[in-house]
């Protein structure tokens, strides 16, 4: 009896693999690699890829570096394919609604695309400047898409008098670095105490700030931009800062982080919102009540999944390898029996090239409270540092010291003690952990909340409470 059921389930999966319909929404790194992985897994059914950008999948990291510099044209970063995917491509078509009951994805043009299994990989977009009138001034840019990069590159090539970068995260800092390489005057305005503070903390932020200043960046930290002003032709010319100073500038890059593309999932009953799309570590989406779904999967920047190494906290990782690895796991699990499923448990990692320094990290730095410089020399900007949380190592960062990163990755994976045993080589003189100086995560927000309703098990459920403003 049990054997017969098992066989039946196996048959269903086998049939699905040969004749099922899979739809992938999102045609960037995660969407493409998932499609390739599905074919590798032996899925021979109908595959549809939906993407709101007209271009075929391209790589984004070069946009803020090689492309802005003018070395590589913006449309030259298309991703190499690793296998034929024989898919139906619906590019330049935004998905606007998900109908879970009838298993349909609605497109902006009105078409409805049926699926048996769905992969959500819609990623993020650039947060726009808060004042739409000012955002519409000529000379005000964001950078996320290949078109964005093409426009900004053209503006930089025209040798503007001064560039203002608002926001000193990784992208803003990389753009400031390119501006200096191009010999352009650049001001960076950052509300936090230093660049990169959100990702790496204040201790590393201080070093990043010195790097910018040494390269001639006019860095203003602890400062907001109140408004942007244009000339009578509608071209941006100056910015008013919160300390009442004025910056004259001809190009403004607003680099204010990203917003997750989940609006199209409103009303779908999935656990989707500003935080991303909740899912289990096997990439299966949760419904709004936190119950796992069987036919909807999530990968890439918007997937919020629990991570065993970080006390099972739910993490979204806007990292390149998270998209690649998550896509492979999601694809595998979409066409596999329960017992064969894989977990998506990557050790997070990222890199950033700026001011001639290669910054790399493994683990989740903001999870740590303390930091310890373990190797190299801060003065020479060639060092490794480890982050600790309750006596164990949870992350590490290197500046021009990448060859040591695997050493720390292995320790993080083993939850090794913090402070870690001293490396046998190139030790700094002062090896004392200090507070890592991350901003307080408890600052009040006005983000939407979820409320619980119902009392009986049949009625109990969650509902979104609308944003108050």
């Amino acid at each position: 009896m049990i054997a017969a059921t098992k066989e039946k389930v196996a048959d269903v999966v086998a049939t699905f693999k040969s004749t099922g319909r899979i739809v992938i929404v999102g045609a960037s790194l995660a969407g493409l690699r998932a499609a390739e992985a599905l074919r590798k897994e032996g899925f021979t059914g109908h595959l549809t890829i939906i993407g709101d950008e007209a271009e075929e999948p391209y790589d984004r990291p070069p946009l803020s570096k090689q492309v802005l510099k003018g070395w590589v044209p913006a449309d030259h970063t298309k991703l190499p394919r690793v296998r034929e995917i024989d898919a139906e491509w619906l590019l330049g078509e935004a998905a606007v609604r998900l109908d879970r009951v009838n298993k349909l994805v609605h497109l902006a043009g009105g078409d409805q695309i049926p699926f048996d299994r769905l992969l959500i990989a819609t990623g993020t977009r650039a947060r726009q400047w808060f004042n739409p009138k000012e955002a519409a001034l000529d000379g005000v840019y964001t950078i996320r898409t290949s078109n964005d990069a093409a426009r900004l590159q053209e503006a930089l090539a025209a040798k503007p008098g001064r560039v203002l970068v608002i926001g000193a995260g990784f992208v803003g800092s990389e753009v400031a670095s390119v501006c200096r390489e191009l010999g352009l005057a650049v001001t960076v305005a950052e509300r936090a105490s230093a660049p990169l503070v959100g990702a790496l903390g204040g201790v590393i932020g201080k070093i990043a700030a010195e790097m910018q200043q040494d390269h001639g960046v006019d860095l203003r930290c602890g400062i907001g931009v109140k408004s942007l002003e244009g000339d009578d032709k509608g071209h941006v010319r100056r910015a008013q800062l919160s300390d009442d100073s004025v910056v004259e500038c001809d190009v403004v890059l607003t680099s204010l982080g990203s917003i997750r593309n989940t609006e199209w999932l409103e009303g779908s009953g999935l656990a989707a919102g500003f935080w991303g799309v909740g899912c289990d570590a096997g990439c299966r989406a949760f419904d709004i009540n936190g119950v796992v779904t069987d036919s909807i999967f999530v990968a890439g920047d918007i997937a919020r999944f629990p991570h065993v190494l970080y006390e099972y906290q739910f993490l979204t990782l806007e990292h390149w390898d998270n998209a690649v690895l998550g896509a492979a796991v999601a694809a595998h699990n979409m066409v596999s029996l329960e017992a064969d499923r894989w977990p998506h448990l990557p050790l997070p990692g990222f890199w950033s090239g700026q001011f001639g320094v290669n910054i790399k990290s493994v683990g989740v730095c903001p999870f740590g409270e303390e930091i310890l410089f373990t190797q190299g020399s801060v003065k020479e900007r060639r060092f490794a540092a480890a982050y600790g949380h309750r006596g164990r190592i949870v992350a590490a960062v290197t500046f021009n010291h990448a060859k040591w990163l695997d050493h720390y990755a292995a320790q993080i994976e083993r939850s090794a003690p913090f402070p870690p045993p001293p490396a046998g080589f190139d030790r700094p003189r002062d090896m004392k952990p200090v507070p890592a100086e991350f901003p307080d995560p408890r600052v009040p927000t006005s983000l939407p909340t979820v409320i619980l309703t119902g009392h009986d098990p049949t009625e109990r459920g969650a509902e979104f409470q609308a944003r108050l403003h």
Binding site: P62, Q66, P80, R81, W320, Q354, F355, N358, K360, K403
Partner: protein
């Protein structure tokens, strides 16, 4: 020809920068910048660079010279 480098893997050994200097270059000691769409004239050099990479971080498209063009 399409190229992508997994810069998580890349450790700045710079073998690629010696073998295909017009395609791969180091900024500072170990920050790699590269041309993701080099001309076909560099194909052999790029393939050599990919083969020589100690951490195998360079991915070159191997689907033949023709791209699979998505019909939109």
């Amino acid at each position: 020809m399409r190229v992508v480098v997994d810069l998580n893997k890349c450790l700045g050994y710079a073998q690629c920068a010696f073998l295909a200097p017009t395609v791969f270059e180091l900024h500072g000691e170990e920050a790699l910048m590269y041309d993701p769409n080099p001309g076909d004239a560099t194909r052999l050099k790029v393939l050599r660079a990919a083969a020589a990479c100690p951490v195998q971080a360079i991915l070159v498209e191997h689907l033949g010279d023709k791209d699979e063009s998505p019909a939109s």
